[in-house]
Amino acid sequence: MTALADEVAAVEADGLGRVAAARSVAELRLVEQELVGGKRSALALLNSRLGQLDVEERKEAGRSINAARSRVQAAVADRAEKLAAGERAARIEAERLDLTEVIERRHATRGHRHLVTQARDELEDLFVAMGYEVAEGPEVETDWYNFEALNMPPAHPARSMWDTLYVRLGAAESTLLRTHTSPVQIRVMQSQPPPIYIVAPGRCYRRDTPDARHLPVFHQIEGLVVDRGITFGDLAGTIEAFTSAYFGPNIHSRLRPSFFPFTEPSAEFEVSCIFCEGRGCRVCSQSGWIELGGCGMVDPNVFAAAGIDPEEYSGFAFGFGIDRCAMMRHDIDDIRHFIANDIRFLEQF
C-alpha cells in the first residue's frame, strides 16, 4: 500500500458516506461534483499525482483510482434514482387531491366542433333527410371485406389502385387498415335484407406521404342503395341532389365513365367548381369542374359475395372525401390543418 492508495481508499470511503447521506438530488449533484466531477474533484486531484510515481506503482494506483471512481459513480447513480423516486413520491403525495371536492364555476367561452365533424354531420343529415340511415364499421379490416368481397380476388391488378397499410395480425397481409369505407357496404348487406339506403362515413387509411392534398389518415363517406328497380339514372339524380344541397343551388354534378372493381358501370363524379360556379378559374384549371368522388352500379359479383340476387335487386354506391368537401367549402389549401389541432384554426369555425 502506497500513501496514494491509502488516500484513494479514504476519499472513496468518505465519498460513499456522503453519497449515502445526501438528502436531495440537488445535494447529491454537489457531492458528485466534489468527488468525481471534473479537474478539481477529489479523485481527479489524486489522479494528477500519478505522475510522481514509478511505472509499476503508477499502473497500480491508476487502477485503484479508476475502480474507486466507478464505485462512487455507481453509488451516485443508485442514490440519484432513489432520491428522485422519493422526491417524486413526496411531490405526488403532497399533491393528493379529492377529485370530487369541486366547486362549480361559471364559464363563458364557447368551444368548436371540428370542421370534419361539421362536414360529416351535415352530409349525414342530407342523406338522412332523403331517407338514409348511417352505418359504421371497423377501421381495421380483413382483406376479404376490403378487397375480396368487393370483386378484387387475391392478386387482382386493381388492388394496386390503393396503397395499403397492413397490420401485424393474423396471416401475412390478411389484416389491414381499410383503404376506403366500402367494406361497410358488405357488412350492411350481410346484416340486413334490402331495401338498403345507407351512408357510411369514417376514417380511411392509405400509405401516402403527407402533403397539402394527402394524409395517410383521411375521412370518406360512402353511400349504398339496394332496392328493386334502382337505376343509373337514380344514381345520377341522387348525386345531383346531394351536390346542390351541400354546395348550393348553383352547383351541379356530372358523371363520366371510370373504373372501380366493385361497380359496373362505374363513374367518376365531378361538381361545378364552387369558386367560379363553372365559369372556369385557376382552382378548376379553367375546366369549370372539380372531381369529387367515385360511384357506379353495384357489381353483380359484390352482390354475390353479400348474398343478394342481382336479378331481383339492383343498387348503386358512391364514395367521396369528407375532408375534401370541407376544404372546398372553407377554402382550405392544406389538409394537414385537419390533424394539426391548432386552436387558432379550430376556433375559426
Partner: protein, 784 residues
C-alpha cells in the same frame, strides 16, 4: 398514355377543336389530364452556326459565343451551356422572339457582356425533355433557316390520358382512335397489311416454347439488311410526344408499334443470339439476369424467361429484355419477338421485381390475342421504311391456348333496367357496332354479343351494358330519384354521440382529430403500457403503431398549442382506439373513445367537465373511484365507473408525462369508452314537477377528514334530505394549519315541497337529520 392528335388521325378522319375532342375523350372515360400543343411558338427560332466560343471575362458559369444567324455577321451571345463547339449548328432565339413557355427574349447585359439572343435546349423549345445542353442540329442545315422548316416539325396536340386499368385497348393510339371515332360517328380502320412474306433466303429463327401456360403465343421473325441509324423526324417526333425517347430506328419502330397497336415486342440482334433461336421457359430457382437497365434480377420458377437457343436467358418475358442481345449500331439482322404472355404471370413477376415497364403494364392488363400478327406486319413494314430491312423469311408462330373473347347474352330490357333509359334494340346495337362488339339479335330485344378480342375486361352482360352507357353518354341519362319507402335516421348511439359533442362544445372545449398512428416511443412517453397493434409496412416511424389511447395525440396537440402561446386550450376528441384482439380473433378490439384534455387545468377541472357531460347525457349510475392509472397523476386520478363497470379514467396527466411532452403546468384529463358509458343506466327524460311554493336554503359546513371524498358526504346529505331537496351545491372548501388532516366543506341545500311552503319546524328537522346522517356516517363534525 400520351396520344398525339396527328397519330389518331392515321386511323379516322377526326376533326374538331382540340378542346372539344378532349371533352369527348373525357366523356368516354379516357380522362384527359393534360393537353399540350407542340411545335407552336417556334416561328421566331432560327438555325445559327457557332463561329467561336471564349470564356466570359467576369463569370465562369457562362461563356461568350459568336454565331452566324444567316446574315454572315458575328452575333454575340452569352450562354450557360458548354456542350457545343465552333462549327456546330444550334437553334437561336433572336432578340424579340417569344418561346413556347412564354419567355420573351431581350438584349441583356450579362456581367459586362452583351447577349443578343438565346441559344436553346430541346426543353426550352418544348421539343424534348432534354434541358441539359443546347440542341445540336444536323450539320447540313443552312444558318438562318426557320427551325420548324429545318426540322420538318409539324404542329401537333398531345392528349395526356388517364387510362383506367380495365381498358387495355386504350393503351394504344389505335384503340383510343376507335373509341373517339365511334363517339364522333366517323369511320375507323386499321390499315390491313399483308403477312410478312418469306424473303429470298427463307431465313427463320428457331422458336421453342417450353412454358405454353405462361406463353400461349410466340412469334419470331427475321429481318435482314438492317441499317441502324436515327429515325426520321416524323417518327422521332411522335415518339417524343408520346413520352418516349428516340434511341435508334429499330428500337424506335419497336416502341412505335407498341404505342400504335398496344402490342409490346422485342427486337434482338440475331448475330448476338447464340444458336440462332429463341426458347421460352420458366426460370430456375436462383437464376439471375442482368436486364437492359443494368440491374441484376433474381428470378424463380414463377417467372417466364426468353432465352437463346442454348437456353441462356436473354430477357424476362413481357417485362424487360437483357443487355446481351441488345440492338447496337453494328446490328444487321434482327430477330423480332412478338408474343402473348399470361397477364397474371407478368403481373406477378413485375410486382415481385418492382419493375413496371410499358410492356409489363400492357401484358398485365391484357393485350389483344388476335393482334400479335398484325403488329409483326406493321413492324416489318416500318422497319423496311426507316431501316432498309427486308423480311428474311416467314414468321415462326408457335401457338397454344389463347383466351377466347367472351360471347354474352345482352337483353335490351336489362340495359334499360340498369341504366334507367328507354333505348331500343337498334340503339343498343348501334352503340356497340362501331367499337367492335358484334351483336346478333335473338328475339325480344335480346342479343348475342361477340366481344372483340381487344376487350378482355368485358366478360358479362353488365360489362357490355357499361359500353352501351359510355357510348350513349353518361350525361344523357335522365336523372331520377329512388322511390324510398323508408324513414331515415341516426341510431340512438349516433344521436347520443352528437349530443356529447354538443355538450362538450357548450362547456367551452374544441374538438380535435389526431392521427390514429403513433411512433413506438409515444407509448412510454405517455406513460402507457407497451401493447399496441403494429403496422406492418409503415411509411414513417411515426406510423408504426395504432393508438391504444387518445392520450398521446391530445398531449401533442396541447404541447403544440402551448408552443404558440396558447397553453390553456381545452380539447376533446372522439375516435377509435385499437387494442390487441383476444386470442383466436383476427381484428383488434376497436372501441370508440371520448377524451378531454384541459391545458392548464387540474383534476377538479376535469371533473367539472365530466359533471356537465354526465348531467347532459342523464347518466345516473356513475361514480369516481380513486386509484392510480397509467399516464395519470397517481394521487390525482380516479377510475370512472358507469353502471358499476369501469369505463375509463379521470384526473390529471402525470407530471412525468407532461415533462416528457415539455408541457408546463397541469393538464386535466379524462378518457372513456363512449359506447360503454352510453350503455349505462340513464335518467329518462320524464318531466319532474316543479314546486310553486317558496324554497328555503340551509348552509351546512362540516370538518371532514381528508380521506373522505366530498362526493361521499354529499351523497349522504342528499339521501338524508330526501325528496324535498331541490338542489345541493358545494360552495366552500377551507383548509388551515389548525385543521391538520381535515378540511372544512360547506354545502348549500335548497328545499322545497310540491304541496306547501316548508315550515320552520320541518326545516329544523331536515337540518338535524342531515347533520346527524353526516356525523354518524363519516369521520366528520359540524363546523361550529
Amino acid at each position: 398514355m400520351r396520344v398525339p392528335l396527328s397519330w389518331l388521325r392515321d386511323f379516322a378522319p377526326i376533326s374538331g377543336h382540340p378542346a372539344d375532342l378532349a371533352a369527348a375523350l373525357s366523356g368516354l372515360g379516357l380522362v384527359v389530364e393534360g393537353m399540350e400543343t407542340f411545335g407552336e411558338g417556334l416561328g421566331d427560332v432560327i438555325v445559327a452556326r457557332v463561329l467561336a466560343t471564349r470564356p466570359h471575362p467576369n463569370a465562369d458559369k457562362v461563356q461568350v459565343v459568336d454565331v452566324d444567324a444567316g446574315d454572315g455577321a458575328d452575333l454575340q451571345i452569352v450562354c450557360g451551356a458548354f456542350n457545343f463547339a465552333a462549327g456546330d449548328l444550334v437553334p437561336l432565339a433572336p432578340v424579340g422572339a417569344r418561346l413556347p413557355g412564354g419567355m420573351q427574349i431581350g438584349r441583356r447585359n450579362v456581367r459586362g457582356q452583351w447577349s443578343n439572343g438565346m441559344l436553346c435546349s430541346g426543353a426550352e423549345l418544348a421539343l424534348s425533355a432534354d434541358g441539359e445542353g443546347i440542341m445540336i442540329l444536323d450539320a447540313e442545315l443552312a444558318p438562318g433557316t426557320p427551325l420548324t422548316e429545318a426540322l420538318g416539325i409539324a404542329a401537333d396536340v398531345v392528349f395526356d390520358l388517364d387510362v383506367t386499368p380495365n381498358r387495355p385497348d386504350a393503351l394504344s393510339v389505335a384503340g383510343v382512335a376507335r373509341d373517339l371515332a365511334a363517339h364522333l360517328g366517323v369511320p375507323f380502320s386499321i390499315p390491313e397489311l399483308p403477312a410478312p412474306a418469306g424473303g429470298e433466303y427463307g431465313a427463320t429463327v428457331s422458336v421453342v416454347v417450353e412454358a405454353p401456360d405462361l406463353c400461349p403465343q410466340f412469334t419470331g421473325t427475321v429481318l435482314s439488311g438492317v441499317s441502324i441509324g436515327a429515325s426520321p423526324q416524323w417518327m422521332a417526333q411522335r415518339l417524343t410526344l408520346a413520352g418516349m425517347r428516340p434511341i435508334n430506328n429499330i428500337v424506335d419502330v419497336s416502341n412505335y408499334v407498341m404505342l400504335e397497336l398496344g402490342q409490346p415486342n422485342h427486337p434482338y440482334d440475331l448475330d448476338r443470339l447464340p444458336g440462332g433461336g429463341l426458347l421460352v421457359r420458366r426460370a430456375r430457382d436462383g437464376e439471375t439476369l442482368v436486364t437492359l437497365d443494368d440491374v441484376e434480377r433474381a428470378l424463380g420458377p414463377d417467372d417466364c424467361l426468353i432465352c437463346d437457343a442454348n437456353g441462356a436467358a436473354v430477357g424476362i418475358a413481357g417485362v424487360m429484355g437483357g443487355a446481351s442481345s441488345e440492338i447496337s449500331a453494328a446490328t444487321t439482322t434482327v430477330a423480332l419477338e412478338a408474343a402473348w404472355f399470361d397477364p397474371v404471370a407478368v403481373a406477378r413477376t413485375s410486382k415481385r421485381l418492382g419493375l413496371r415497364t410499358e410492356a409489363s403494364v400492357r401484358f398485365e392488363r391484357g393485350v389483344d390475342p388476335d393482334g400479335v400478327n398484325r403488329a409483326v406486319a406493321r413492324f416489318c413494314q416500318l422497319a423496311g421504311e426507316v431501316a432498309g430491312a427486308t423480311v428474311a423469311g416467314p414468321s415462326v408462330d408457335v401457338r397454344g391456348d389463347l383466351p377466347r373473347p367472351a360471347r354474352v347474352v345482352l337483353r335490351t330490357s336489362r340495359v334499360n333496367a340498369i341504366l334507367g333509359t328507354g333505348l331500343s334494340p337498334a340503339d343498343v346495337s348501334g352503340y356497340l357496332q362501331p367499337i367492335g362488339f358484334r351483336s346478333t339479335p335473338t328475339g325480344d330485344g335480346d342479343f348475342r354479343v361477340d366481344v372483340p378480342s381487344w376487350r378482355p375486361d368485358c366478360e358479362r352482360e353488365i360489362d357490355v351494358i357499361e359500353e352501351v352507357a359510355r357510348h350513349h353518354g353518361y350525361t344523357r341519362i335522365a336523372r331520377t330519384m329512388p322511390a324510398i319507402t323508408k324513414v331515415g335516421g341516426l341510431s340512438a348511439y349516433q344521436r347520443d354521440r352528437r349530443r356529447a359533442r354538443e355538450i362538450l362544445v357548450g362547456a367551452g372545449l374544441s374538438e380535435a382529430w389526431a392521427t390514429s398512428f403513433l411512433a413506438a416511443e409515444d407509448l412510454a412517453r405517455a406513460g402507457l403500457p407497451p401493447d399496441a397493434v403494429e403496422v406492418e409496412n409503415p411509411l414513417a416511424a411515426e406510423e408504426s403503431l395504432l393508438r391504444p389511447s387518445l392520450l398521446p395525440g391530445l398531449l401533442r396537440a396541447i404541447a403544440s398549442n402551448a408552443g404558440h402561446r396558447r397553453p390553456d386550450v381545452g380539447l376533446f376528441e372522439i375516435g377509435h382506439i385499437f387494442l390487441l384482439p383476444p386470442p383466436g380473433e383476427q381484428l383488434p378490439n376497436e372501441p370508440e373513445h371520448l377524451a378531454v384534455a384541459l391545458g392548464g387545468g387540474d383534476a377538479q377541472d376535469a371533473v367539472r367537465i365530466w359533471n356537465v357531460l354526465t348531467d347532459g347525457m342523464r347518466l345516473v349510475d356513475v361514480a369516481l373511484e380513486t386509484t392510480s392509472l397509467p399516464g395519470l397523476h397517481p394521487t390525482r386520478s380516479a377510475r370512472v365507473l358507469a353502471g358499476g363497470r369501469p369505463v375509463g379514467g379521470i384526473g390529471e396527466v402525470d407530471p412525468q408525462v407532461l415533462a416528457a411532452y415539455a408541457i408546463e403546468g397541469r393538464v386535466g384529463w379524462f378518457e372513456l369508452d363512449l359506447g360503454a358509458l352510453l350503455a349505462s343506466p340513464r335518467r329518462p327524460a320524464i318531466h319532474r314537477p316543479i314546486s310553486r311554493f317558496p324554497s328555503a336554503d340551509i348552509d351546512l359546513a362540516f370538518v371532514v377528514e381528508e380521506t373522505v371524498p366530498a362526493a361521499a358526504v354529499e351523497r349522504t346529505l342528499s339521501r338524508a334530505a330526501g325528496d324535498v331537496l331541490e338542489r345541493i351545491e358545494l360552495f366552500d372548501v377551507f383548509r388551515s394549519p389548525s385543521l391538520e388532516g381535515e378540511r372544512s366543506l360547506a354545502w348549500r341545500l335548497r328545499f322545497s315541497a310540491l304541496d306547501h311552503t316548508l315550515t320552520e319546524d320541518e326545516l329544523t328537522a331536515l337540518r338535524l337529520r342531515a347533520i346527524d346522517a353526516v356525523t354518524s356516517t363519516h369521520p366528520a363534525r359540524l363546523r361550529g
